[in-house]
Assembly symmetry: C2
Homo-oligomer: 716 residues x 2
């Protein structure tokens, strides 16, 4: 009869698990029943009771998450106990809250952050236990999530000894969400913030958003667009923000807002927003006092000033430090911080590449201690590949936050499968040489090079109201990667991909091997069919969807694609050496030397720094033109191969997500061909050379590609 029961079980599981489609809403927290009976059987013995201490809302959430997860994974209701009576007890809490953990008082946690946790296995009173000890209740929650990740990914939990402490203090999402629920550069539907129904209606999504973030260590969220709207600072909206903060608080997530510099005029009735004006300063002090009265753990402000039309201190002949410090002074009494964005390019310069450095380098040391400068990973704007921003390594007296873009503004938007961890890692691993070799961007950002404790990493959110949050099922992995890397930038892309796949799709080794390979190649694939060899910013104006290397009609030169590639009959690329704009001098010598010589510069960065002839000899031995043709075709070939590989995975994936990804890959293949054809045909008008016959030839004319218009491309 046991066999019959098991068969019945299997049958019912088959119905409830595989037969139904998975809409992707649950992200990496699916907690579906573990199919491998051997694995499940072992876990069943090892996880029998939860002995969790503490009464905070955070501990309640940890308990809830644990019981829901075990119910899902092992199909059993876990007992919550308050003493140790059996093997398989998971003991969770802090040293202060739990007697057993207090007696143990793990030395590992002594010097770790407040948010750190320690997981270990141990015999206590002859019982096999799993201990999850946090330095705080949030640490306990993080530990619970980490433990569940181990189970979700089928790890052996017999012997555990894990100390985990975040390397970055502020691990943030930045939502570019407007109050009317449009999302700038959003490709996943409307904003998840339904401001109109707040504060009274708490969407289940808000709770699941907090769960997902906490599970990967994200501890802050900037709710509003950097192109800011002062209305968010009015009382009715602050009440709405407070309602969200209340939802997020137990999950260790603090809310931040974007502050519109001119708010004192727009909603305060003042005549000026001059940061040195006493009335302006007082207005912000009162406003910030009001915010903290509603949201005691409010995180602070993210501010885009004097950039792309946003007001700022320069409107009053003050500099960025004077602007930032006004906010910093008002926030300091509450331990709030200012994230001041370095994305500026309004001053005259011969190279947009150089402008953030030119504006901010002279201000190094002038910012108050609770200001952190938030710098995009590259000097331009989230291109498929950029060298690291020269501000990293140039601001020893100013904390620098890393800003990555999860939403794929320049990376195929809603329809291309691009795993961004390799891009993030490339930036983080770059060596600035600020204090000699090994001064990587990661070590600037985590504060170790310049000894800062105020550290931050932000990802511009790719989240929207689509059922699966991110539109492309694989885009969830970029949200996941941001959280994991902000916690620990030493994690490899490989490991992040693997654990995400296992939680999100399947533990099956064949599935993981193939799909991980797809993910790890995906970014280089896109670089090849979109902007190989150091090309950049040749997307359409405005919406940035599709190729427009011919674009030269906008008023500012540096808004036009031709500004970036500078193709002419002599060659292609932007000369940023001493014979050009000399942007290279913004880097430390150790960093710039690898790029300075066009014959030694890695192919990937060549056109970022050099204008070279169409016959320039590449490292492959090919001419530049032939290498360009090769790369564009390699990109197309690679995405076609990825498409084939995905199609081979049908048996491992629920029908809904399998078909979604399949359809999206079809679009991606079409668009890769479009990119290749449009770009090669256009650059050919300068190179005057044939596309080598070994490659697929464009099937449409350049005029055709130039004629395409996308008036309603999303996110614009």
């Amino acid at each position: 009869m046991l066999i019959k029961k098991q068969l019945l079980l299997f049958f019912l599981l088959a119905i409830s698990g595989i037969a139904f489609a998975d809409n992707g809403y649950r992200l990496w927290l699916r907690y579906d029943r573990i199919n491998n009976q051997q694995v499940a059987g072992k876990y069943n013995k090892q996880i029998q009771q939860l002995y969790i201490s503490g009464n905070s809302a955070t501990i309640q959430k940890a308990k809830q998450e644990f019981t829901n997860a075990i119910q899902g994974l092992l199909g059993k209701k876990i007992s919550i106990v308050n003493k140790l009576t059996t093997d398989g007890t998971v003991i969770a809490g802090t040293v202060a809250s739990n007697k057993i953990l207090g007696a143990l008082d793990p030395k590992e946690l002594k010097n770790a952050s407040d948010e750190a946790f320690y997981i270990t296995t141990m015999q206590i009173n002859n019982r096999s236990c799993i201990l999850i000890c946090g330095n705080s209740d949030i640490g306990v929650l993080y530990g619970i999530f980490h433990f569940l990740r181990l189970v979700n990914t089928g790890q052996d939990i017999t012997k555990l000894d894990i100390l985990s402490s975040p390397k970055i203090k502020y691990r943030l999402l930045n939502h570019w969400d407007n109050l009317n629920r449009t999302v700038e550069r959003g490709y996943a539907g409307a904003s998840i913030w339904d401001w109109h129904k707040l504060p009274d209606y708490i969407d289940q999504r808000y709770i699941d958003y907090a769960r997902a973030n906490a599970s990967i260590g994200i501890n802050g969220t900037v709710l509003t667009n950097v192109n800011a709207n002062a209305t968010i600072l009015t009382r009715p909206y602050l009440d709405k923000v407070a309602a969200l903060a209340n939802v997020f608080r137990p999950y260790g997530i603090r809310v931040f807002l974007t502050a519109r510099f001119s708010a004192p005029i727009e909603i305060g009735g003042l005549k000026t927003a001059d940061p040195l004006d006493a009335a302006v300063q007082d207005w912000w002090k009162q406003k910030i006092k009001e915010i903290y009265s509603l949201i005691p753990d409010f995180g602070g402000f993210l501010i885009k000033a004097n950039s792309e039309g946003q007001p700022g201190p320069q409107d009053y002949k003050r500099n960025h430090a004077q602007g930032a410090n006004m906010f910093a002074d008002a926030l300091a009494p509450y331990q709030g911080i200012v994230l001041w964005r370095a994305f500026v390019y309004s001053q005259q310069s011969n190279d947009r590449f150089k402008q953030a450095y030119e504006e901010f380098k002279p201000l190094d040391g002038q910012f108050k201690p609770n200001v952190i400068l938030q710098v995009k990973n590259g000097p331009i704007d989230f291109q498929p590949r950029e060298p690291f921003s020269p501000l990293f390594g140039a601001m020893p007296h100013t904390p620098l936050a890393m800003e990555f873009q999860l939403t794929q503004e320049y990376l195929g938007q809603g329809t291309h499968l691009v795993f961004e961890a390799p891009l993030f890692k490339e930036a983080l691993n770059a060596d600035t040489y600020e204090k000699g070799k090994g001064s990587t961007v990661a070590k600037i950002v985590d504060g170790t090079v310049d000894n800062f404790s105020l550290t931050a990493m932000a990802g511009v959110s790719n989240i929207g109201s689509d059922i699966n949050w991110t539109s492309h099922p694989f885009a969830q992995a970029n949200w996941y990667a941001l959280g994991r890397l902000a916690w620990d930038h030493n994690l490899s892309s490989d490991q992040i991909a693997e654990e995400w796949l296992e939680q999100t799709f399947s533990n099956d080794r064949s599935f993981v091997a193939v799909s991980k390979s797809i993910m790890l190649r995906s970014r280089e694939t896109l670089v090849n069919y979109m902007t190989p060899l150091g090309l950049a910013h040749i997307m359409y104006n405005g919406h940035h969807y599709g190729p427009m290397p011919w674009g030269n009609t906008l008023g500012r030169p540096d808004w036009n694609p031709v500004y970036y590639h500078k193709a002419d009959s002599a060659g292609i690329g932007f000369n940023r050496t001493v014979t050009g704009t000399n942007a290279l001098e913004e880097y430390q010598q150790g960093a710039s030397s690898s790029w300075a010589d066009s014959n030694k510069c890695a192919d990937e960065y060549l056109l970022w720094f050099h204008h070279v002839s169409w016959n320039h000899r590449m490292h492959s031995g090919k001419t530049l033109w032939n290498e360009l043709c090769f790369r564009y075709n390699a990109g197309v070939d690679s995405i076609r191969k990825i498409q084939q590989q995905w199609n081979s995975l049908e048996r491992f994936v629920d029908a809904e997500r399998f078909i979604q990804v399949k359809q999206l890959l079809n679009i991606q293949v079409k668009e890769a061909v479009w990119w290749r054809n449009a770009c090669l045909l256009y650059f050919q008008t300068f190179s005057k050379m044939p596309i080598p016959s070994v490659y697929e030839q464009p099937d449409k004319t350049l005029e055709y590609y130039k004629s395409l218009r996308f008036p309603y491309a999303p996110g614009n």
Copy 2:
């Protein structure tokens, strides 16, 4: 052991059914396991095999729906067979496709529509069978859906004898969806049409949308906003439309588009859009030919012309008939139709109420046979209560379509629970007296009064990208009601509410009794706290969210609330009798006579037709002012009672939807109080009378209510 197995089953069902939240995505097609073992056991015997004939895509969908439903409801994989071998065989098909049904050749279907079906139970070769016979494959699909509805609602299926044939030919949703995915008057997120990803990406939602519509008999959908954009008629967009049409076709759903009258200029390069211009006529002929080459079953155009800034024939001194007939001629060869909207009020008149009649009545008989005039249920604009539009009963030579508004523009928008079937029924049951007593609006619309076969009923969609489609869980019921009433306007609100509740929530009798009572009272409740006694259009300008009876700042008088209520020191209401604008004369005598005398006019319509003094004696014996106070308070009391009742239903409803509705009712109560207070305080400035002390007194001032602003109210 059987008992143990059953226990196990129950346990697993409990896990999979009740423990997990229901996000509402599945609408009324949930197909959750039937908990009542006695009922399930009976169905198990009665439904053992499906013998379905035909090979069309529609039959494939019917098969799929049936097997999925039975899998869900009874937990078993139904066998698909092609002969009759056991009891409990469901035989489905047409007379032509199935031998058994052919031999039976039910006379019931002879005179019924192509879409009709007949369901009967019968012994055939000593086997108990259930026969589902359609006049076409679509009829079979409708029959399958009807049969599943019987099972879903726990009906006894032992003896069935059901002939069902739609009373209306075109049963339509009208989406006011823009190409940028905003939705005019949409309160449920973004548009479900992700135009950017079409035609290559077919969202699962499109399929589920088609299933939901087919299940309630909706057979057409207008994809685009009546405030139209010519871009939808360009080839790239028509390819996207064709992709949707391909998804919908097997479900019997045809796509329609809105045609922008000036499209020949905007996308055709012509200098005019004059409907009598040969080049314009030819442009539309070619465009329509192109559409039908892509979408052979394209339904036709819905056109809003010379209304609220939309271009139209009057721009060229042509009338509506000349405009509509141009499209009709071009569509006729393909059996396409023109739905020409009667919602116009651009001409000068002393009463907006009268304008549609004034413009269209003279054109009666001048429209081509494939034109149908689409008329809103009331003369103004989807108010909580309106008298029926006087065009119904005034156009004996013109087919008239009914346009209802599902989206709750004036009915509390996304947050108020309002079941609209009673509103729809009120309009449909109204007697126009066109051909004497009994010439109800329903009989005008279904063609029986004037003998038209071209008949239509449309609902302005309340569907968006929110996970549960309609934002408010109960708003799903309005979509459902539209479909059911378009199929059969004789269904009662009670029956529609009951079957919707049973499918969407629970069959439990206690639950159904209470929640049905909530639904059936909800519309009158809203009328009372919003616009009692025949008040109308006193919402905020523009977004129409919240009360603004004081509004008098817009350029056109008839855009201002004060135009509609005409409150002054003498009294309140709009005199539409012979001593006023005499709008009443647009009705047949039989209809208008009940409203003409202010002392006999039903309270519900009083202020629609009469300006009466604050001391006017109402049927209750109260003065008008006291009755107004009574009604506003009755509305608030009623929604508070509904709130209590819902809270008593917690044990019957999954946690997610229970909490959603609970939170929304909290908002509704707050807003009902806001409406009552703001309106009574404002009207009190004219009546100069106290709010009787038996009623709750306003806790805020009129100035406070006037100060409220909602810059980002949705749907605007």
